[in-house]
């Protein structure tokens, strides 16, 4: 009996020691699990475009996910349309666009459960859209004005962009952030008659280089932890 009690004491001791050794490891494992999942964003700055001249209607969504530590592949999609009535013609444009690329987080935290990021990245963008000029008048006081036939073209625009961005987690899984983009249009001569007023997702079609800006809110779907 004495031996039995002694063995119980020894086994209890061993269990305690094992637990003592394992607990910090288990506890540390729980603290450093990183929440991973797709993050969906809505660009709020697009709504400010409604107050520009001409007013541009549109919306843009983004989807990114940290597939390996600090690397976020990104897809952004949106649509855009505008109408403008000038003295000599009416103009309309509508279309959709997408961008694919990746962001790399240069802000390294010791704590793996901190998700604020400062990223640099790149995108390839493509827009499919139509633009149309109607009631185009070529003025001639002497010979009489010439009314040009309506000009309508389906266009594809391609561009590359460099992206710098900041995202902060304001509540668990909710983020806000902005990005600044430098864009290079790859096919500025997409329309032989005239450059589109706006290439959706890019900016002014007459400019081979453009600056872009987004101000977005995001929600990360916490799919799993690792």
């Amino acid at each position: 009996m004495q031996n039995w009690n002694r063995m119980k004491n020894i086994s209890g001791y061993i269990f305690s020691v094992v637990l003592l050794v394992l607990l910090p490891v288990m506890a540390a494992g729980q603290d450093t699990l990183r929440s991973i999942g797709p993050r969906i964003g809505l660009d709020l700055s697009r709504f400010a475009y409604l107050f520009f001249d001409p007013a541009e209607r549109g919306a843009e969504l983004s989807l990114d996910m940290e597939i390996v530590r600090s690397l976020y592949p990104v897809v952004e999609v949106g649509f855009s349309s505008l109408r403008e009535t000038e003295d000599q013609f009416d103009y309309a444009m509508s279309g959709a666009y997408g961008r694919v690329g990746a962001d790399y987080n240069i802000l390294q935290h010791a704590d793996r459960t901190v998700y604020h990021t400062v990223t640099v990245g790149g995108r390839y963008g493509v827009a499919r859209f139509q633009h149309r000029a109607e009631n185009v008048t070529i003025p001639s006081g002497y010979w009489g004005d010439y009314l040009l036939e309506s000009h309508e073209y389906s266009l594809t625009g391609h561009w590359l962009e460099l992206v710098g961005a900041v995202k902060a987690e304001i509540f668990t899984n909710f983020f806000m952030g902005w990005s600044l983009r430098y864009r290079i249009l790859l096919n500025p001569d997409m329309d032989p008659l005239f450059a589109p007023l706006i290439v959706p997702g890019y900016g002014r079609g007459a400019q081979n280089r453009a600056i872009g800006f987004t101000y977005s809110v995001y929600y990360k779907i916490p799919l799993y932890k690792k």
């Binding site: 520009f52 403008e84 000038e86 013609f89 000029a133 008048t137 001639s140 010979w143 007459a206 800006f213």
Partner: protein, 156 residues
């Protein structure tokens, strides 16, 4: 976050300012014809004392562009409705007809300023009461006329 908003507002202002544009010209694409004469010293500029010019406008009455003016060159609006423009030039009771054959295309100056004609001169035809010869100097004519720009020479 506050800085982000400020940057956004600054960018919005810059973009809004960039869309403001002033259109200085009237979108007329005009030809400049300089008068020349062949002398002992070669080809030199010449001035005619009293020149009247009007265009032949189908369906429209004659309308003078110049009336008895001393000219060494003239600025003529070309016809955006067709591929040629015809002018009658009168000096001292004599008149010649000048037909300018051109290709007519159109281009956008800017979204604010609108479209204009882009003419490319092809050939010149003329009667020969006063005019001895003609020559194309610069074939392309757009709505932005530069100082000292000249498109054709007319030899008297």
């Amino acid at each position: 976050m506050k800085n982000g908003l400020l940057l956004f507002l600054a960018l919005a202002l810059i973009t809004a300012c960039a869309t403001q544009e002033i259109c200085n010209n009237d979108n007329q694409s005009e030809l400049v014809a300089r008068f020349k004469t062949e002398g002992e010293l070669g080809t030199v500029d010449t001035t005619l004392a009293a020149v009247s010019v009007h265009g032949i406008r189908p369906g429209l009455p004659d309308s003078l562009i110049y009336l008895n003016e001393p000219l060494s060159s003239m600025v003529l609006p070309l016809n955006p409705n067709g591929d040629f423009s015809i002018f009658v030039i009168e000096v001292d009771g004599l008149s010649d007809t000048l037909r300018i054959n051109h290709r007519t295309e159109y281009y956008l100056i800017s979204y604010t300023c609108g479209f204009a004609a882009l003419f490319t001169l092809e050939t010149l035809e003329h009667t020969s009461r006063m005019i001895r010869d003609t020559r194309i100097i610069q074939a392309e004519i757009d709505a932005e006329l530069e100082q000292n720009e000249e498109h054709i020479w007319i030899y008297f």
